[in-house]
Each structure stands twice: as structure tokens, then as C-alpha cells.
């Protein structure tokens, strides 16, 4: 009987998780469709919870208080930054451009639109990375052609009050 010779790397076998055959269900798609339609009239529609009064924007079919949000309310197009980051590569502190690949800076911010109780993720334009801060006031910037897509509301700019 041949002794087993201990190998540092043995054979490998392959396989996959064929998630292409999974198909998930989302009531939220139906809710957000209504909100997306309203984009065409430049309106932001959120859904208010009858249990605790929280307003979800974009809408969500259930609330953390276990009620089902059921009242459409209009959300303001101004909001406050609650969190942020930058893609591309900049040094921090001075935020110099010397590091990493070049490219247009993309500032990604979490925005709490006035009249809602939720965070929505957007990009921030017309501002430099070093100007961003938590608590900064921003204003939604609609695209030139509003198509009723979820990313129609993906851009904000500093609110000049």
C-alpha cells in the first residue's frame, strides 16, 4: 500500500450557486413604481406609517413598528447629508488628487430629504470633496430628461439658501 504523500495543495473541484434561477418577490417594486411615475411631475412621494408616523422615501411596504405604511405624502426636495464618502482616489485630510487613478471625483452622500425619516443614497455635484460635511444642506437636481427611473433622484447639489 502506497503511503499517502501529504500535499500542500490538493485537487480542487468546482461548483456554483446558480442564483440565476432564483426569482425574488418585492411589493416595494410596485410601491416604488408609483413614486417613479410621480418623478415625471417632479414630485417626491413617500409612504407614511399609520402606526408611528414615519415617512419612508422611497416607499417601503413595512415599518419597523410592524405596521404597513399606507398614506402617500409629498416629501421635500431639500434635505440634509447624514453620511458620505468619495469614489475615485484622493488622499484624505487635504484631499489631494495626487494619489491613485485620475478621474472625475464622485461624492456619494446619504441624504435625509425633509419630510421623510429615511436615508437615500445620492451623488453630490457642484461641490468639492473637502466641502462636504454631515449636516450639509442639499437640494435634489433633476436630470434633463426625467424617465421615471429610480436614479432620476440620484443627484443632489448644495442648497444655496
Amino acid at each position: 500500500m502506497a503511503e499517502m504523500e501529504y500535499k500542500k495543495e490538493t485537487r480542487s473541484v468546482e461548483g456554483s450557486w446558480p442564483m440565476e434561477h432564483w426569482s425574488w418577490k418585492f411589493e416595494s417594486i410596485a410601491l416604488i413604481s408609483k413614486t417613479r411615475e410621480a418623478f415625471k411631475e417632479k414630485k417626491l412621494l413617500g409612504l407614511k406609517c399609520p402606526g408611528c408616523g414615519l415617512v419612508y422615501f422611497p416607499p417601503k411596504p413595512y415599518c419597523r413598528c410592524m405596521s404597513e405604511p399606507d398614506e402617500w405624502v409629498e416629501v421635500k426636495q431639500q434635505g440634509t447629508i447624514t453620511t458620505y464618502t468619495f469614489t475615485g482616489a484622493w488622499a484624505y485630510e487635504g484631499i489631494k488628487e495626487e494619489e491613485g487613478p485620475a478621474g472625475e471625483p464622485l461624492i456619494i452622500v446619504g441624504v435625509n430629504f425633509d419630510g421623510s425619516d429615511t436615508l437615500t443614497v445620492c451623488t453630490l455635484g457642484e461641490a468639492k470633496p473637502e466641502e462636504v460635511f454631515v449636516g450639509m444642506r442639499v437640494q435634489l437636481k433633476w436630470p434633463e430628461n426625467i424617465e421615471g427611473r429610480l436614479d432620476d433622484i440620484a443627484h443632489v447639489v448644495p442648497l444655496r439658501e
Partner: protein, 153 residues
């Protein structure tokens, strides 16, 4: 949903993404495949209770001992159970009719204490029937070098 909000048929979403994996088989299974390559059935044996594992295991489940002994098993074995498969599971997870039913058997190799699930050639099967292993060292994928079984007679 609350009043005024009709979801209708709940919408669905899917993505054509299939995460891939590459599992290292470990030295015990690797040695097993080395054996098949030479046409041999190699099983690991517990030095404590003498239990023989085919496919081999590094650890004896009953003694928690490393199975560092190897034994070469004869080509004969016994059908412990079998099923005549009329279907197989297709890539999408649903049953697909087989053009020809096939026999999947649980075979206990003579000298082994565990079973191998493999195809049994020859169409008919019975519990307790003697079978011989079919080894194909040239199989396209090494996992199929243990190609199956055929009736001993």
C-alpha cells in the same frame, strides 16, 4: 398593503449571477483520486475501531481519530439500497424526465463500512446483489473516475 395601494401580482426580480466555488478536496480525497487514477479503490481506516471509510475520511466520526491507515479494497461490493430514477434534477432545479430510467445504488464495497452512491449498469437491481466497481482512470473529470457499478455475474 393598506387602502389605496394595490400591489396586484407581487412583482419579481432576478439576476443572471452565479457565484462560483473551488473546493480543495483535502489530502484524503486527493489520495483516493490518485488511487482511482491507477485503477485502485483506496479507503481510509480508523486505527482505533478499524472502521473503513470509502470515500475516505480524515477523521473517524466514531473515535475522533485520524484515519492514517489505508487499505486497497477489492472490486466487489453489495447493493445496500437502490432507486430507479425516472427523472434527474436539471440545472434550473426542476425534475427532468430521463430518456431511459437509470439505477442509482448505494453500494457497500467489500471491506468497507460506508457506502458509495453511484450508477448501477444493467437495468435491474436488488438489495443484496453483488456488484463490481467500474473505474475509468481516463474519465473527463476525475470525480467520475469511479464511474459506477455493474452486476458481478
Amino acid at each position: 398593503m393598506g387602502p389605496g395601494i394595490e400591489v396586484g401580482q407581487v412583482p419579481r426580480a432576478a439576476l443572471p449571477i452565479n457565484p462560483a466555488f473551488q473546493w480543495s478536496v483535502g489530502n484524503w480525497m486527493d489520495h483516493f483520486y490518485d488511487g482511482l487514477k491507477e485503477g485502485k479503490l483506496l479507503a481510509s481506516k480508523c486505527p482505533g475501531c478499524a472502521r473503513v471509510y470509502l470515500p475516505p475520511r480524515m477523521i473517524c466520526e466514531r473515535c475522533f481519530t485520524k484515519c492514517e491507515e489505508w487499505v486497497e479494497l477489492p472490486e466487489t461490493g453489495t447493493v445496500e439500497s437502490y432507486t430507479v430514477a425516472h427523472v434527474k434534477v436539471g440545472a434550473n432545479g426542476e425534475f427532468e424526465e430521463l430518456p431511459q430510467p437509470e439505477v442509482i445504488a448505494l453500494v457497500k464495497q467489500d471491506g468497507a463500512d460506508t457506502c458509495v452512491a453511484a450508477r448501477l449498469q444493467g437495468g435491474s437491481a436488488s438489495v443484496g446483489m453483488k456488484v463490481k466497481v467500474v473505474i475509468d482512470p481516463e474519465a473527463e473529470s476525475f470525480v467520475n473516475m469511479l464511474a459506477g457499478y455493474r452486476p458481478a455475474e
